[in-house]
Symmetry: C2
Subunit: 373 residues, 2 copies
DNA sequence: GTTAGCACTCCACTAACACGAGTGCTAACA
DNA sequence: TGTTAGCACTCGTGTTAGTGGAGTGCTAAC
């Protein structure tokens, strides 16, 4: 059996209707509220076919139809494709582009304003990226009524840019590590050896000369031993310090994620029962399971190229999210340093609205960060 | 009407039973399962009195009784008092002490072990306080089946200990700020002025000489202006830097809080309905509302002195927690630098077990951190 | 002051039933 | 051959009525 245009239209109608109402949709509804001009009986026949093909299913006999994951996938792929085509047209014809942009501009402006006011609260304070991201993710959650997630920007390969040791008191050294992409980490190191400024200066030089430009993978035991040798009697101290540095770089791998609007899952009955909600909340709270999704570059995903990735149901391979869909987008903090922003909702979420919202937000983040540079 | 001993015993019996079963408790239950040897009818009379006094109430006619907040308060105060008395006895008589300790030792040891294994995962990595706290709070949530909360240790008055400017590249200075209690913060500062090592050294000296030992309150515009003046042509840059430093100290006020086991609220039906659960989840996610509770020194609380604080229902003044109780304890990270650990559960939580668990955890944290010094 | 007895209340649970939305199938129609 | 009307059937939802049991308050007797 093949998926002709009429079937596709009916499938789309079913999904659209289901997204709006959240109720199984029956043949009568489709026959009445679409421009297909077909009777309910005909629709029923087509629906039986669609069910056989695995795009829709009935929760029970004598109920309407609900899209399956495959159905959603088809719908989303179509949607994304028509989006990118639209985008291409837009860039081909500048006039059209500005007109089309205008149609979206209200929403965009409002969001922009909110972004600005969110930051004017910290106007004369220094703008801290962390709080910017927290504001953004909160705003997104509020606007969409879905749970939102954002990751701190992350260099894809953490190269060491700069190390500095500073003496804090007799027993403590502060080790400041700067990574590619200007990610800064600190580590307090307890020492037993006596120290003076001269030695500290020498150690700083030694460490910077030998370690700068290296990744965590390149700083191994072998190399640590060689450097420690050069440090003569300070060898043990130096190898201790190198351990700390390695650990620090490693900890920078631990991507930081903020969530907002977790309570929104209670808006959707299919996610609200204690079991499901509890598991989801755990996933959001512990964040480990999210990192995979928030670092997935989506190279081989069907939505590649647009920067937008859509995971439907099981596609996340996070079991607590099997009844959810997640859409992510990438923003650029500095050249080569990216972060992700995502939205988690029920499978019947408003994919179009969410994709728009994410595009707007990443656009405005990109502009904001590039302006700063 | 006065609260004689018999009434108190009955009240305690009611509460104990309710904590166990979660069901309203009737007169028959009390008359059968206590050593009071009174008939149900007598208990009923006493119950009517206790209700009049506001310690218990009926969810509806012809149901058993449930403790009110006042009832819980009485119960908890009694419990805490007998605990501290027990403690005093223990310290008075060393022999007794070791015996009593032994009785608790199993639990303590198991917990200790878990703590250790939790950390041996990061054995050869550097032990980062953040991950230690996260492990602890997670363990606590798992052991108690309540939601747990922990705050990063925080100096009560943030004094500046040390500042350092470092040049990262032509356009960027890294400003490292160390506060009393060895809290380290970083700030990236964009500059337009040209820089060289000489000038940087001078600025570093100037800033450290003038700012060290000051609190945020003491670094005002007036002083910034005076320092900027001393910096001659670098005045604007310096005042910009001072702004950044002030902002950084300010941001250190933003206490960091980790939560674990949020899903545990679904174990307790009285917290699980969408509305309540949603609000609670929000409170846990946003954390702002928790800061007040997690910084409350509890000086004027009824449980003062023990380090343990108990908030019952409305006592938290956080509306989403009106059906919860929260118990917090204080741990010491360094001298004068404290953090708090807390447990949030239904009002009918097992107060005794929780107090024990918190005492154990703070003890072991105290020991761990003091050992490290 | 304590207790047994009794009438009363109210929740929780179950069974029965009606309703309605939706289906699949068949037969008729264009 | 594709489309449509009609019809019997299914199944979840909501309503109603009825029952049982746990618990109370009150009264009267001990």
């Amino acid at each position: 059996m093949e998926l002709d245009i009429r079937k596709k239209k009916i499938l789309q109608a079913i999904i659209k209707n289901y997204l709006e109402t959240g109720e199984p949709v029956g043949s009568r509804t489709i026959s009445k509220y679409t421009d297909l001009e077909l009777s309910a009986a005909t629709i029923r026949n087509e629906m039986a076919d669609l069910e056989e093909m695995g795009y829709i299913f009935q929760p029970h006999t004598s109920a309407g139809r609900i899209p399956t994951d495959a159905g959603y996938r088809l719908y989303v792929d179509d949607m994304l494709q028509s989006r990118t085509e639209e985008l291409n047209e837009m860039s081909a014809d500048l006039k059209n582009r500005s007109e089309l942009l205008e149609s979206r501009s209200e929403l965009l402006e409002r969001r922009e304003e909110e972004l600005d006011t969110a930051q004017s609260n910290v106007a004369d304070r220094v703008e801290r990226i962390e709080s910017v991201l927290k504001d953004v993710v909160k705003m997104l959650a509020n606007n969409t009524n879905y749970t939102s997630v954002i990751s701190m920007p992350q260099a894809n390969r953490n190269k060491l840019k700069f190390v500095q040791l500073t003496q804090i008191d007799e027993k403590k050294l502060l080790c400041t590590v700067v990574l590619e992409g200007n990610i800064v980490k600190n580590e307090m190191i307890r020492i037993d050896t006596d120290m003076d400024q001269q030695i500290l200066l020498r150690l700083n030089l030694l460490l910077n000369n030998t370690l700068n430009g290296l990744t965590l993978q390149e700083i191994n035991f072998d190399m640590a031993a060689r450097i420690a040798e050069q440090a003569e009697q300070y060898g043990p101290l130096v190898s201790d310090i190198i351990n700390h540095i390695a650990a620090t770089i490693g900890s920078a791998d631990g991507i930081e994620i903020f969530t907002s609007g977790a309570r929104n899952i209670f808006r959707y009955p299919e996610l609200s029962d204690s079991m499901r909600a509890g598991e989801l909340i755990s996933t959001l709270e512990e964040k480990e399971l999210l990192t995979e999704l928030m670092t997935d570059t989506g190279e081989e995903s069907p939505d590649a190229g647009t920067g937008i990735q859509v995971y439907i149901g099981q596609e996340t391979s996070v079991s607590s999210m099997k009844d959810c869909s997640m859409i992510t987008a990438t923003y650029e903090f500095e050249k080569g340093v990216y972060g992700k922003i995502g939205i988690i909702g029920p499978k019947r979420m408003d994919y179009e609205k969410v994709v728009d919202a994410l595009n707007d937000v990443t656009d405005s983040l990109d502009r904001k960060f590039s302006k700063k540079r």
